[in-house]
């Protein structure tokens, strides 16, 4: 049992993948290295997928690509409304990134979302965007006044929400990925073959995608809330 705890701890610790030998050596954590790999993959995929796009599509590739992009546009427009269209590319990026990060565990790579720094970074960027959204649509005065709404007595709760929202976003994602990982490790101990397959379907694929969806869904909901 002690062995398992050690193994789990080892898996959860974010090791340094390599060090860039400048300024006395910049350590690059494993999660960042994997993120770079995901970025490179997405860049190559984007360039390959968007080659020879035609006004009248002839290939299935373009139709599928347009379907996905239109689906994302419609999904976020449905939540944010017409005013929130400018935020759609960022939210789509986050969705694609988290989905890739959660699914990369299938390739035997440690998912970047298992690193608290990544989920916290994503959550902090989300809260910055949420508050920027509020300031952009209401103006600084309106944004400050909105803390006293619907009644002044809940102002402290509204201020606390600035910290609660990113914390919940960050911890939900991190907790789910961590929990899924621990459960999968335990299942592998019980039966290393066959049994992990259906569970992996759920924890690695379904849960991974659901968490990506939940993260951007909540971010866009909070954005809509702060815009109103």
């Amino acid at each position: 049992m002690g062995n398992l705890a050690e193994e789990l701890m080892a898996e959860l610790t974010c090791e340094t993948a390599f060090t860039i030998p400048v300024f006395g050596g910049i350590p690059i954590p494993e999660s960042v290295a994997v993120t770079w790999a995901i970025m490179a993959f997405l860049l190559i995929a984007s360039v390959l997928l968007t080659r020879n796009l035609k006004i009248v599509p002839t290939g299935k590739r373009q139709i599928a690509l347009e379907y996905c992009v239109t689906f994302l546009n419609d999904f976020f427009t449905g939540i944010l409304g017409e005013h929130g269209k400018r935020y759609i590319p960022y939210l789509s990026t986050v969705l694609i990134y988290i989905a890739c990060a959660n699914l990369i565990g299938l390739l035997g790579v440690k998912p970047p979302t298992k690193d608290l720094n990544v989920t916290a970074g994503l959550a902090i960027m989300s809260i910055v965007l949420i508050e920027y959204c509020g300031i952009y649509s209401k103006g600084v005065k309106g944004f400050i006044k909105s803390f006293a709404q619907p009644m002044p007595i809940i102002t402290p709760i509204n201020i606390m929400e600035i910290f609660i929202k990113p914390l919940s976003l960050c911890m939900r994602l991190f907790g789910n990925v961590l929990g899924a990982f621990v459960v999968m490790e335990l299942i592998k101990i019980i039966m290393p073959a066959f049994l992990p397959i259906p569970f992996s379907m759920y924890f690695d694929i379904f849960d991974g995608l659901i968490q990506a969806y939940v993260f951007v869904f909540l971010t866009s909901l909070f954005m809509k809330e702060s815009m109103e």
Binding site: M9, L12, T13, C14, I28, P29, S31, V32, T35, W36, I38, M39, L42, L43, S46, V47, L49, T50, L53, K54, I55, V56, Q62, L65, E66, V69, T70, I88, P89, Y90, S92, T93, V94, I96, Y97, D115, L116, N117, V118, A120, G121, L122, I124, M125
Partner: protein, 160 residues
Amino acid sequence: MLTLSLDIIWTFVNLIVLFLILKKFLFAPVQKVINEREALINGQMAEAKAKEEEANEKLLAAKRTVDEAAEEAKRKAQYILDMAAEKEKQYIKAAKDESAKILEESRIKAQQDKEKLLADTREEMISIALMAAKKAVGSSIDSKKEQALFDDLVKKVGEA
């Protein structure tokens, strides 16, 4: 495990870079094509609508022309009928006039013939009567007496 470090900055940088990459290489080109297609479709729709309106206008104009032509034809037919009726009347009148004229002429001619015949007959009768009287009286009668007898005969014939 649950510790935050300065590595969080990597997340910010990575996410922003990934956002820029996807925006430039994925969302922008796809959106551009979608927008271009939308513009093309809107243009074609507008063009089709304009053509439909034009066609409707032409159809209306054609209908108007057909209506006008039908009206014109009707008018012309009526004119021809009227003209025919007028001509018929004229011909009938002319025929009637002609026949009346012929009738009158024949009546006059008949009258003249009758009168002529009467006169001829009268003269014939006179000459016969004269010849008979000459025979009865003989040649002794003088011309004075002959004249008196003739006048007497004429008077009698006239009375007859």
